[in-house]
């Protein structure tokens, strides 16, 4: 197969996101990842719901389906179940995937259909011009919460892991190289992969992630998790995470006799969800925010594969192979 380049996946449609919107960077990370995934161009399908982010499929020249609000997960489940040979991507927003589509989100994860979902989390409803979303921080002042929201936000990692998810990763729009690496991991995962991208909406929620993305401080406020490596972070690589009394603690290397060997080593592959949940839910300022592949455990066979296998087994066993066989099976009688 001829090696494809990112440009080969770009469509001729004009990209209509606002200048400075984080979605542009996510698009380019995806375009970089696609040639490396190993699927033929015509075997890739992007499915989305409704929202700024959900315009995405128009900008990739593979097969694409821009659905209705909240239902991308269901549409994509149908695409993949119908034809498991396709490489299916879901593009959804925090409103699309976690509010109106929240039910489909958890059931997609529970079934573990082999699709890759990218959650564009800007903590706001962008397309409808700035109402709070299920991931908006408590107290957020938006058009529909002029006095601040009074509701608790969802944590997408928590929901994914709570729904028995086998893959959860997080990245930031402004770190496109990391995003591409993570998306390649997501694509490799056999089962539902959820990648949360912290995305800046310059118009309606600018700098909502500013405290962790600003260049001067970000290395102290995020931690890049890599499977098999100790959990170290900080501008000077002098901070780490360890576990004590069933709780995560941020510690300083060299203080109180703490050295690298005391730190947690990231095991993304363990089935045990407890530690992944703690890591996924870490929030600044108490903790650094975790980026990278937080959970990627060996998935059992995915739903789409199991369905095909079950069909093969039953087909093999049964004497009924055509509608004619079926109609003449069981109790029939002859009128002469």
């Amino acid at each position: 197969m001829q090696q494809l380049k990112p440009e080969d996946f770009k469509s001729d449609q004009m990209v209509r996101w606002c200048a400075g919107c984080g979605d542009h960077a996510i698009l380019s990370s995806v375009l970089k990842a696609l040639p490396q995934i190993g699927y033929k161009h015509e075997d890739v399908v992007f499915v989305s719901g409704i929202g700024c982010s959900s315009r995405f499929p128009y900008y990739v020249n593979t097969y694409g389906f821009h659905g209705i609000h909240g239902r991308a997960m269901a549409v994509a489940s149908g695409v993949k179940t119908s034809n498991p040979n396709l490489c299916v991507w879901i593009i959804t927003g925090d409103g699309d995937g976690l509010a109106i589509g929240g039910n489909h989100f958890i059931h997609l994860v529970r079934r573990d259909i082999d699709v890759n979902l990218i959650l564009f989390n800007n903590r706001i409803y962008g397309l409808t011009k700035g109402q709070y979303s299920p991931t908006s921080k408590q107290g957020s002042v938006t058009k529909t919460s002029p006095y601040g929201t009074i509701e608790q936000p969802f944590k997408p990692g928590g929901i994914t892991i709570g729904a028995n998810g086998t893959f959860f990763a997080r990245t930031i729009d402004s770190t496109p190289k990391i995003s591409t690496e993570i998306l390649l991991e997501a694509a490799k995962h056999k089962g539902t992969s959820i990648t949360e991208v912290l995305q800046n909406c310059v118009i309606y929620n600018d700098q909502t992630f500013g405290d962790i993305t600003d260049r001067d401080n970000r290395d102290d406020r995020i931690i890049m998790l890599k499977h098999g490596e100790p959990m170290i972070f900080g501008k000077n690589q002098d901070k780490g995470l360890l576990m004590k009394d069933n709780e995560l603690h941020v510690v300083h290397l060299g203080e109180n006799g703490i050295s690298e060997k005391d730190l947690l080593v990231h095991d993304a592959h363990t089935e045990f969800a407890g530690i992944h949940l703690l890591l996924a839910n870490m929030d600044y300022p108490k903790y650094p925010v975790a980026l990278g592949v937080i959970r990627a455990c060996e998935a059992p066979k995915s739903y789409d594969v199991k369905m095909e296998e079950q069909i093969e087994v039953i087909h093999e066993k049964s004497k009924i192979h055509t509608i004619h066989d079926l109609m003449y099976s069981g109790s029939t009688w002859e009128v002469k």
């Binding site: 469509s11 449609q13 033929k40 161009h41 015509e42 075997d43 399908v45 499915v47 409704i50 499929p57 128009y58 020249n61 593979t62 097969y63 694409g64 389906f65 821009h66 659905g67 209705i68 239902r71 997960m73 269901a74 549409v75 994509a76 489940s77 149908g78 695409v79 993949k80 179940t81 119908s82 034809n83 040979n85 396709l86 039910n103 489909h104 059931h107 369905m307 079950q310 069909i311 039953i314 087909h315 066993k317 049964s318 009924i320 192979h321 055509t322 509608i323 004619h324 079926l326 109609m327 003449y328 069981g330 109790s331 029939t332 009688w333 002859e334 009128v335 002469k336």
Partner: protein, 614 residues
């Protein structure tokens, strides 16, 4: 056969088995109806069960019934009124006595008519004094005790023994109508293959019931219903839900497409999903979704991916699917939506039948959102209309809503197994593989149908979506003129389906003054009423609509031939209103019932006679 009793030949009989929902009445009824079908009678059956899985024992709410109508002549309905009512307890009597013919027979289990059960059923004293049973032959049979007696040495516990009493009742009725017992016995052998004791027990009780009826003097005669004149062929018994599922599988096979059903369980439609889920051997893929919206959206995804995609539901589910049906309209993908109508609004009457989703099917969506709407009219022709719904959806790249109802879904009748070769071919409008510069929304100028390019096909990569499409290119378009153009195209595309549907037909007297108009599942009752009214010397005609949107091309001409048009439907007049909209030049009369029940032939006849007069 009894020595003393004389044998009387009769044309048709309706029997209603009724009891507590744990009494096995559905099984007794099914065995009786299958036996009759095997014997060569025409048969129609209808179960009537409570919405609750286990309503309190002995109460009206817990009564489960099964009516079998069989005859020497053609049988089109399960029969309004029954010749025999089997009542296993007082509640069953109370719930069903209104359906017994004035000269009918009631056989009841005397052992269950104790003070406690009588009170539970809401009677104050002797039910047969409280009810008017003049003219009815009431036969008291100690069914429970005789069952216990019959099985006292068999080595089963009391509970299992009493569970066999339905077979005692079946035995009695089998003697009364001279039915062979072999079918029931072979059923026991299959069903209880690993429990020989249960085979023995059920067989013994069945025979003991049969001999009991022969021996007691209560029955002065038994009856013979000769086989019907039926078209030659191989037959089986089928209900509407199974027929829908099979029709869709037949269409998939004919079109050489994989069948995909995305659905969420809901009474009375669940049977279709269950039937399809069992057919992995035919490579059917079923996806039990988290709700109806996901059900239809998975189907839309599967359709995009190249499957013959269907979704099945009832009224409340159709309401949830509305927005997604619009998505299928916009993306011009084939999709079949089956709505097995039930009593509404809201949760309404889940187990009861109604025709009140017509307007919802036609118009229950945002925007100008035309889809093909059609309706099956007998349990077995659900097969044909499901097949046609798939054919139209595929060939016209459009969603099709197929309406059936609770009555068709659960009603069974003998079905002559068709030859798939007799069904029209299904031409899949796939893009030819060598097409250059393919445009997703380029259309056949005659049919306005676009072509279907499937993910995995090299060179046909394209994006579909819910936003308005530019004609031909299929890109997103907000151009005002284009929206108007597309609105007309979508409408005309569906209108053009009319060319592929058969003309409306008339049954009865072409020169009558009165045309009875029905649609969907009421056909059996309407045609029976028609036959009876004509037999009484009146001129009258009937037309039954199976295609509702678009209407058959000769609709206007047919309606114009008659002086009086009487639209009969189980709702408050939705089809009459629809016809009024489509053909306002004619006056329409209405006859409506909305009790959660099929029409009765009696009510229909009265309505017809009334309308003949004035």
């Amino acid at each position: 056969m009894s020595k003393q009793a004389k044998v009387i030949e009769i044309e048709e009989v309706a029997i209603r088995f009724s009891g507590d929902s744990g009494d096995g009445m559905q099984l007794a009824g099914t065995l009786f109806s299958d036996t009759s079908a095997l014997y060569g009678n025409d048969v129609s059956t209808f179960p009537d069960y409570p919405a609750e899985v286990r309503a309190p024992q002995g109460t009206i709410g817990g009564v489960s019934g099964f009516q079998v109508h069989f005859g020497h002549t053609q049988i089109n309905t399960p029969g309004d009124y029954c010749d025999v009512l089997v009542a296993m307890n007082p509640a069953a009597l109370k719930a069903n006595i209104r359906w017994v013919k004035p000269d009918g027979i009631i056989i009841y289990d005397a052992d269950q008519f104790d003070a406690k059960n009588i009170e539970k059923a809401g009677y104050k004293g002797d039910p047969f004094l409280e009810e008017d049973v003049t003219g009815i032959q009431v036969i008291s049979a100690p069914i429970s005790n005789l069952t216990k007696e019959s099985l006292k040495d068999i080595g089963l516990d009391q509970k299992s023994i009493l569970r066999c009493k339905n077979m005692f009742a079946l035995g009695i009725v089998s003697w009364l109508y001279d039915r062979p017992l072999e079918h029931a016995v072979s059923f026991f052998n299959k069903k209880f293959a690993t429990k020989p004791l249960l085979v023995e027990a059920n067989t013994k009780v069945l025979y003991d019931g049969y001999y009991y009826a022969e021996t007691i003097e209560a029955f002065t005669s038994n009856f013979k219903v000769k086989p019907a004149e039926i078209e030659k062929g191989t037959y089986r018994s089928i209900n509407g839900n199974a027929a829908v599922a099979w029709g869709m599988m037949a269409a998939a096979e004919k079109a050489d497409l994989q069948l995909f059903c995305g659905s969420y369980p809901i009474t009375p439609a669940t049977g279709i999903l269950e039937e399809l889920a069992a057919r992995k051997d035919l490579r059917v893929k079923t996806f039990q979704a988290e709700d109806e919206i996901a059900g239809i959206c998975t189907a839309i995804g599967a359709s995009f991916a190249g499957s013959l995609a269907v979704t099945t539901t009832s009224g409340p589910g159709l309401a949830l699917k509305g927005e997604a049906i619009g998505l299928a309209v916009m993306t011009e993908l084939p999709l079949v939506i089956v709505d097995v109508q039930r009593g509404g609004p809201s949760t309404g009457l889940p187990t009861k039948t109604e025709q009140s989703d017509l307007m919802q099917a036609l118009y229950g969506r945002n925007g100008e959102s035309p889809v093909v709407v059609m309706a099956a009219s007998t349990p077995s022709n659900c097969f044909d209309y499901a097949y046609m719904a798939c054919k139209i959806a595929i060939e016209h790249m459009t969603p099709v809503i197929l309406l059936t109802d609770g009555f068709l879904a659960n009603g069974t009748e003998p079905w002559r197994i068709p030859d798939l070769n007799d069904f029209p071919d299904i031409k899949v409008p796939r893009v030819a593989p060598d097409t250059q510069n393919w445009q997703p929304y380029a259309r056949d100028p005659e049919t306005l149908v676009r072509t279907w390019a499937i993910p995995g096909t090299h060179g046909m990569e394209h994006r579909l979506g819910s936003l308005e499409k530019m004609n031909i290119t299929g890109t997103v378009s907000y151009v005002p003129e284009n929206h108007e153009l597309m609105s007309h195209i979508r409408e005309n595309k569906v209108q053009k389906v009319a060319r592929d549907i058969p003309p409306l037909e008339i049954v009865g007297d072409e020169d009558a003054d009165l045309l009875i108009i029905g649609w969907g599942g009421t056909y059996g009752h309407l045609v029976t009423a028609l036959i009876e009214v004509r037999r009484e010397g009146h001129k009258v005609a009937l037309t039954q609509f199976n295609y509702i949107y678009p209407l058959p091309t000769n609709t206007r001409e047919i309606l114009g031939r008659f002086k009086k048009l009487l639209v009969c439907e189980i709702n408050l007049g939705q089809f009459a209103n629809y016809l009024r909209m489509q053909h306002p030049e004619y006056p329409y009369r209405k006859f409506n019932k909305i009790m959660g029940l099929p029409f009765t032939v009696k009510d229909l006849k009265e309505a017809i006679l009334r309308n003949l007069e004035d």
